[in-house]
């Protein structure tokens, strides 16, 4: 998982399919990030903020009771323990630092579940940046608490009322805002998607997850790497960061998509929001609405590097359905005292389903990135579980 080609391609995926109005901004961002990422002072400041503000390093937790139950040895990389409660903080601290460095004063972002929106609002508050977060109307309803949090942090939440009124429409609105305000505004994209340099930049900003996890796993596993490394995939930022730390090991990399939004599982190559990747679309090229119980995963596309890793066979992408995700959430809560975000519960669900089968043989070691904590989803989960009984 090195630097993409000059045109932003990971194999045949990626690129920069953007209206001319935004191409200069993408070029400026690419130059700014390339320069900053090579600058020790920037890297040091980023690392300092991740440590002192973000709460890094996050631990790796060995799940003894779950392991016993499943017959595989399960380790969790605890991104739920970061400030704001998910891996998204790693990305936004980096992009907020970059915004300052570029001399911009305003940030726009999109959010699905609200995690990226809350993280962006948090970083903007800390850096004194104006912050506008676009969120689909449906998601605003599902994630009222996160909307309140963003407002409390001083961000303005604007509803995206077009299309499916979820994450993809919030991205459309954020892009529209960015076109009109690009001189003063940085678009803080939340995942490893969008036009070059975003998929690369966001993966680099999330690389810390995988690099920490690799060292920590070696400490726990007597110098060995886990047999399997698993992470949930919507756009795929936590998975990209996680995989970056293990791509040159022998670990099998597993990305878990939501059943109703499995872009790699059910999609075909397409282009939306600036890059070529797998995409849920109809035979005419219209983008289909994705579905997931997790607002953070119901995106019809996936980051282009995941499409590439899948196509070269380095990572495998599987899907988990809503029901098994809810079961996984409850099992992890009851066996380990950890309530995962619905996103992360997808990764746990696959481990539970696959444990003891040929897919994940008994006795294997498996490291799962727990991308976020479940507080934000508690109300929604309560309603769904109530309706079940």
């Amino acid at each position: 998982m090195g630097t993409p080609a000059a045109d932003g391609r990971f194999g045949e995926f990626g690129g920069r399919f953007m209206p001319e109005s935004l191409v200069p901004a993408c070029l400026e961002l690419e130059a700014a990030f390339t320069e900053a990422w090579a600058d020790d002072a920037f890297r040091d400041e980023y690392a300092r903020l991740l440590r002192d503000y973000g709460g890094r390093p996050t631990p790796v937790t060995e799940c003894t009771r779950l392991s016993e139950r499943l017959g595989v040895r399960v380790l969790l990389k605890r991104e739920d323990l970061t400030h704001t409660g998910s891996h998204t903080i790693n990305n936004v601290i980096g992009q907020a630092l970059l915004t300052k460095r570029m001399g911009k004063t305003r940030v726009v972002a999109e959010t699905g579940a609200g995690q990226h929106g809350v993280a962006t609002a948090t970083a903007c508050a800390m850096f004194g940046l104006e912050c506008v977060v676009y969120m689909g109307e449906v998601d605003i309803e599902r994630q009222a608490l996160n909307v309140f949090r963003m407002n409390l942090l001083g961000a303005e939440v604007r509803p995206a009322s077009s299309g499916s009124r979820t994450l993809k429409d919030a991205i459309n609105e954020a892009l529209r805002d960015w076109v009109a305000t690009v001189e003063t505004t940085h678009y803080c994209l939340g995942s490893v998607m969008g036009p070059h340099p975003y998929p690369w930049m966001v993966r680099e900003l999330q690389r810390v997850v995988g690099e920490e996890a690799r060292e920590q796993c070696r400490a726990v596993l007597d110098g060995a790497d886990p047999d399997y490394v698993v992470a949930c995939v919507g756009g795929g930022s936590n998975a990209a960061g996680t995989f970056a730390g293990f791509v040159d090991t022998n670990a099998k990399l597993i990305g878990v998509e939501p059943e109703g939004g499995a872009a790699i599982g059910h999609g075909v190559p397409g282009v939306v929001h600036g890059s070529k990747s797998f995409l849920l679309q109809d035979e005419h090229g219209q983008v289909l609405e994705a579905h997931s119980i997790s607002a953070g995963l119901d995106y019809p596309g996936v980051g282009p590097e995941h499409a590439h890793l899948s196509s070269i066979g380095r990572a495998r992408y599987v899907a988990a359905g809503d029901a098994e995700v809810l079961d996984a959430l409850q099992l992890l809560a009851r066996t380990e005292g950890i309530i995962p975000a619905l996103e992360s519960a997808h990764a746990v669900a696959w481990v539970i389903r696959a444990a003891g089968t040929d897919e994940l043989p008994a006795g294997s070691t498996v490291m799962v990135t727990l991308s976020g904590r479940g507080d934000k989803d508690a109300e929604q989960v309560m309603k769904v579980l109530d309706a079940r009984t």
């Binding site: 109005s21 200069p24 009109a180 282009v271 929001h273 070529k276 035979e283």
Partner: protein, 257 residues
């Protein structure tokens, strides 16, 4: 019909160019709208092939696209309806890249040409990604119109004007399509910069809503694209003749200068 040759000839005769837009598949009478536009003095017509996620478009065009999709519009269906519709001026398809990519570059280019469309605007294919589509379009004799923006730097603007075919589309403002109160100052500045590096027709679009605005926007440029104002009328239930009347008012204003 050749797009650039046709527009050059008219421009060189001293005429300001008027390019109205219609969303393909928006209602039963959309091809009648084309005819009304041509009869009212359009020099070319943009036909939108709706896409589910039109990021460069504002609320009006998005609503038009959405409604057309709900009515069952498909790229092949829209192009099929154009077969045999000869309105006497060139037709330019406007769509987003995923529609082209999904159909296949060569197949899409051929289907434009086979159905009488001689130009294409694909706003999310910028210079860096132009090669594959550009080759397929050229092989099918479809001229690909490129967009220039107020933030496009000089060297890039020159390259963009060089590679654009048919005309060069000047995006008047940093923003999305939609009606605006006034013509942005950036429109004139950009058109002037483009005229300094190309003799291809330079046509300004985005936010041109009224005859007065058309005249103002065409002062430095060779003409205007008008889209949202006309689609608003159509969405509100205007008949093709009424769209024709609106285009005719623009025509009169441009002719009177």
């Amino acid at each position: 019909m050749k797009l650039e040759a046709h527009l050059r000839e008219r421009r060189d005769a001293g005429r300001k160019l008027l390019v109205p837009y219609v969303t393909g598949g928006l209602g039963d009478q959309w091809t009648e709208v084309l005819r009304a536009m041509a009869d009212a003095g359009a020099d070319a017509i943009e036909v939108g092939i709706p896409f589910s996620d039109p990021v460069m478009d504002g609320p009006t065009i998005q609503e038009a696209s959405q409604r057309a999709l709900e009515l069952g519009a498909t790229p092949a269906g829209i192009l099929g309806e154009l077969r045999g519709v000869d309105v006497g001026v060139p037709l330019v398809a406007m769509t987003y890249y995923n529609i082209v990519f999904r159909t296949g570059h060569r197949r899409f280019a051929r289907s434009l040409a086979d159905n009488g469309v001689c130009g294409a605007i694909v706003p999310d294919v910028a210079l860096e990604e132009l090669d594959d589509w550009g080759r397929a379009a050229a092989d099918a004799s479809v001229e690909t119109v490129l967009l220039a923006a107020p933030v496009t730097p000089d060297d890039r603007l020159a390259e963009l004007c060089r590679r654009s075919q048919g005309f060069v589309y000047a995006v008047s403002v940093m923003g999305i399509t939609g009606e605006r109160q006034s013509v942005a100052q950036s429109a004139g500045v950009l058109a002037k910069r483009m005229k300094a590096v190309t003799d291809k027709p330079v046509i300004v679009g985005f936010g041109i809503s009224t005859p007065d605005q058309a005249v103002e926007a065409a002062a430095e440029a060779d003409g205007v694209v008008v889209a949202s104002a006309l689609m608003r009328l159509l969405l509100d239930g205007a008949a093709p003749e009424q769209i024709g009347d609106a285009v005719a008012a623009m025509r009169r204003a441009l002719d009177a200068g």
